[in-house]
């Protein structure tokens, strides 16, 4: 049977790779040492594939905007915003067999994600994927959660979906070793007059909820509550899906920094499988 070998929750703000030299060194070192620790773990654990929950940023969709989609292609193209985030563009390997099986199992288990053959990868998936696997040699199954435009899926539903993904992985006869990533957030506000303000109270509370596995608190986050901490705070939905996938393991915060230059409450969490 398949197994999850590592789970990660991380921010994916463009500044992480494009403006490494702008924030105070202390903050940057704290975050990047955590990301590099995960990169080392990936080199040691050698997962067969990465399942990454993150969100599109108006690159794949305008109308309709699906609540949940799975990139089922043999490869994906990106990052489409690579020039901005300094990550070279190109084909990123997918895992069609795993992704299509996941999709079918999802339908049999009461979830209805949209299958997507041609997925454009933007910074939302690309920054964590590239950070942990700059060689781009581990296949990526991108799961795209609408964290952009209302109405958005509930945290409760996404936790359940993440948990379903765990059950699916454990049932895989091919026995893949899978890394889970939930990417986005934490508090930030993009493209508004208050961009740069970081709701650190929201971030600390969210991270505490993860560390103490307070699922009911997580499930109680409403869209309105997340939106109050910035339009980018909606992206914690992807961490919640990862939390569902990592049910039964313990979350540990490796780093948290409210990085003004990156306009983002920047967090890094691992769940050791």
């Amino acid at each position: 049977m398949g197994q999850i070998v590592l789970g990660v929750g991380t921010s994916h703000s463009p500044g992480q790779t494009s403006q490494i030299d702008r924030p105070p060194l202390k903050q940057v070192e704290n975050c990047w040492n955590a990301w590099m620790k995960i990169r080392s773990a990936v080199q040691t654990l050698k997962p067969d594939l990465i399942v990454e929950f993150s969100n599109d940023h108006w690159c794949n969709y305008y109308d309709p905007y699906p609540p949940l989609a799975i990139g089922v292609g043999a490869s994906h193209y990106g990052p489409v915003d690579g020039d901005m985030i300094k990550i070279p563009k190109g084909q990123i390997p997918g895992h069609a067999d795993f992704a299509m099986s996941l999709l079918k199992a999802a339908y049999e288990n009461g979830f209805d994600p949209v299958p997507q053959q041609n997925t454009l990868i933007d910074h939302g998936h690309a920054i964590p994927y590239h950070t942990f696997n700059p060689e781009h040699n581990i296949p990526l199954v991108p799961i795209l959660i609408n964290a952009i435009t209302e109405p958005m899926p509930t945290t409760r539903r996404l936790y359940q979906f993440g948990n379903f993904v765990r059950t699916f992985i454990n049932s895989r006869p091919k026995g893949e070793r899978v890394m889970i990533i939930g990417a986005g957030g934490i508090a930030h506000d993009v493209g508004t007059p208050r961009s740069g303000w970081i709701d650190t109270d929201f971030d600390h509370e969210f991270l505490e909820n993860l560390e103490h596995d307070r699922v009911e608190n997580i499930n109680a986050y409403t869209s309105e509550r997340m939106g109050k901490s910035g339009n980018g705070a909606h992206e914690i939905r992807s961490w919640v899906a990862a939390m569902g996938a990592m049910k039964g393991t313990k979350a540990k915060v490796l780093a948290y920094e409210p990085v003004v230059e990156w306009i983002t409450g920047t967090g890094v969490v691992v769940w050791e499988a």
């Binding site: 105070p24 940057v28 108006w58 493209g191």
Partner: protein, 113 residues
């Protein structure tokens, strides 16, 4: 009333290289193609994003659309937690270069967010 759906749709296309090329070639023709009214074109001709933001256009799309159209943006991304000393600036650059090398990042100067 501003038609944020159509303006947003145009800004969505402006996230792609063909969209940007089309805009550079003939903005008025592109606005015709997306059915923008005279009212919709007002802020674009005045080079301001604010009316669209107030009318409810999504801030992400408005940000990238504003850059493509040359509108005065809603957000300024020059926030900083302080000016570093020359020594700190040098240390930051060293660290940044180390990560960029390790990850094979593109090393030219970035263009905005």
């Amino acid at each position: 009333m501003l038609n944020v759906y159509q303006v947003g749709k145009l800004m969505y296309i402006l996230k792609t290289p063909p969209g940007i090329a089309e805009w550079k070639k003939d903005p008025e023709a592109m606005m015709d193609r997306f059915g923008l009214t005279e009212e919709d074109r007002g802020p674009i001709r005045d080079k301001v994003a604010r009316p669209f933001y107030d009318a409810g256009l999504h801030a992400h799309l408005l940000g990238s659309g504003s850059r493509a159209m040359g509108l005065e943006p809603m957000a300024k991304y020059g926030n900083t937690s302080g000016t570093p000393t020359p020594e700190e600036a040098e240390e930051r650059k060293k660290f940044s270069d180390k990560i960029a090398t390790e990850l094979g990042l593109i090393t030219q100067t970035p263009v905005g967010r």
